[in-house]
Amino acid sequence: MIPLLQVEGLSKFYGHHLGCADVNFTLWPGEVMGIVGESGSGKSTLLNCLAGHMAPDTGRVMFDTRDLGPRDTLAMSEPERRWLARTDWAFVHQNPRDGLRMNVSAGGNVGDRLMAVGARHYGDIRAQASDWLGRVEIDAGRIDERPRAFSGGMQQRLQIARNLVTGPRLVFMDEPTGGLDVSVQARLLDLLRGLVQRLGLSAVIVTHDLAVVRLLADRLMVMKDGHVVEEGLTDQVLDDPQHAYTQLLVSSVLQV
C-alpha cells in the first residue's frame, strides 16, 4: 500500500517568527489524523501549508495522485494544485462563510463544485445536490434557499456537502465543530464519522477539542510553539501522555 500523504521536513516562518518547524508524518488511506494544540501552536499554519493555501519555506508534501502516483504538491503548477483542490481534496473551514458562496442557493453551492469538475447536465447536478443535502440532513425542500437563511449548524453541514460531493480522497478540516452548540456538535460529529467510514476518506482535522479527536481521529499529533511534541495512536496519547505539555493538556479538560 502507498501512503496517501507523506510530509517531510515541513517548516514555515513568518519573518523571524516560527509558524511550524520540521513536521514529518505519513497518512495512510482511510486514516483520520487529529492535530491538537493551543491557539498559536502552529496547527492551522500546518494545515494551510498541507492544503496548498500557504507556501511553506522548506519541506515536501507528497500526495498519491490518481493518475500519476505520489507527487510533491508544493512543486506542482498552480492550475494542477487548483485541480487537486477541486477533485481529490476538500477543505472544511471553521467558519462556513469562508467555505460557502453566501449569495448562491444551497443547491447552487453543492452544484458549483460539480460544475468546476465538468458536470454540465442541470438535471443531474440538481439531483446530486439534492441527494447530498439529504445526506447531511438538510431538508431537500430548502434547496433554493441561500445559506444566509440557515442556522450555523446547517451552514456547516452544507459546507461539508459542498466539499464531499466530488468524492475527494483527502479532507482537511479546520475546527469543524468550533463555534457550534454542543447538541449541534454531536450531530455533526456523528455525521462526519459516518461519512468518513462509509466513503473510506482520509482526513486531517485541526481542533483544540480533545473530545472531538477522541471520537473522530485514529491518530493524534500534539503541537506546541510550532513543534510537534508528541504523536501516536489517539487513545494512547490521551490516556498515557508522555510529554509534559500533553500531560498538562489532558489534565486540564473539564469534566461534566
Binding site: 467510514q197 485514529d218 501516536g232 495512536l233 498515557d240
Partner: protein, 229 residues
C-alpha cells in the same frame, strides 16, 4: 495468542515535579487459543494497566507484548488500528460512544468496520441485543441515557458481535443481574469453544471459577516501591 515477556512500565508526571512512578516490572504471561486466563491481584496492583498495555492505549516501556503475531511495543498506529479492527476485541468497563448514534448501530459497528453489508450486520446486532435482554424499544435510542447495567450489556454486545481470535474483558459481569450474568458467561464459554484466547479481570469469584482456566497474579509484577519517598 497473547505473549508477554519482561514488560515494564513507569509513569513520569512532568507537571508534578517530574515524579517517576514505576508501576510494572518483568510482567510475563501467555494465553493460548481456547483458554481464558484471569488477572488477579489487589486493587492498584496493575491489572488494568496490563490490560491497557495489551489493548495499546498504554505505552509499553520495556519488554515485548505480542498479540496475534503483532508486536505492540513500539508499534505504528496503523498496525494497532488494524489489529483492533481484525483480531483483538475489548470489553471495557465504560461505554464511550458518539451521542445520538442508535444502540443497534453502536453494536453493529465492528462488523461494518470490517466491511460487512449493513442489513446482515444489523441483523446480527439485533440477535445479540435480544439475547442480552436489551428491550427492543431501546434499540433505536442512543445508549448514553441507559442505566449502568444496560450500558454494560451494550458494551458486551459490541465486544462479542465479532468472533475475535483474542479478547480482553474488563469486569464483564459487573453490575449485571443473575440472568444476564449467565448469558455473558455463556458467551465467554462459546468464544473459548471456538478457539478465542481470552484475558480478563473478574472481581466476581464465581464468574471467574465458571469460565477461567488459570489465574495470573499480577502482584508479582509490581515493582518494589520505596514507600518513604
Amino acid at each position: 495468542m497473547i505473549e508477554i515477556s519482561g514488560v515494564g512500565k513507569r509513569f513520569v508526571l512532568h507537571n508534578q515535579g517530574g515524579v517517576v512512578l514505576p508501576v510494572m516490572e518483568g510482567a510475563t504471561l501467555s494465553v493460548w487459543p481456547g483458554e481464558c486466563v484471569a488477572l488477579v491481584g489487589a486493587s492498584g496492583a496493575g491489572k488494568s494497566t496490563l490490560m491497557r498495555m495489551i489493548w495499546g492505549n498504554y505505552r509499553c516501556d520495556q519488554g515485548s507484548i505480542r498479540v496475534a503475531g503483532v508486536e505492540l511495543c513500539g508499534a505504528e498506529p496503523r498496525d494497532v488500528i488494524a489489529l483492533r479492527r481484525d483480531r483483538l476485541g475489548y470489553v471495557s468497563q465504560f461505554l464511550r460512544v458518539i451521542p445520538r448514534v442508535p444502540t443497534l448501530r453502536v453494536v453493529a459497528e465492528p462488523l461494518l468496520a470490517q466491511g460487512m453489508a449493513e442489513p446482515e450486520a444489523l441483523e446480527r446486532a439485533r440477535a445479540l441485543l435480544a439475547r442480552l435482554n436489551i428491550p427492543r424499544r431501546l434499540w433505536s435510542l442512543s445508549p448514553t441515557t441507559f442505566s449502568g447495567g444496560e450500558q454494560q450489556r451494550v458494551n458486551i454486545a459490541r465486544g462479542f458481535i465479532l468472533d475475535w481470535p483474542v479478547m480482553l474483558l474488563d469486569e464483564p459481569t459487573a453490575s449485571l443481574d443473575a440472568a444476564n450474568r449467565a448469558v455473558v458467561l455463556d458467551l465467554i464459554a462459546e468464544a473459548k469453544a471456538r478457539g478465542a484466547a481470552i484475558l480478563g479481570i473478574f472481581h466476581d469469584a464465581d464468574a471467574r471459577a465458571a469460565v477461567c482456566d488459570r489465574e495470573v497474579d499480577v502482584t508479582g509484577f509490581t515493582p518494589a516501591r520505596d514507600l518513604s519517598a
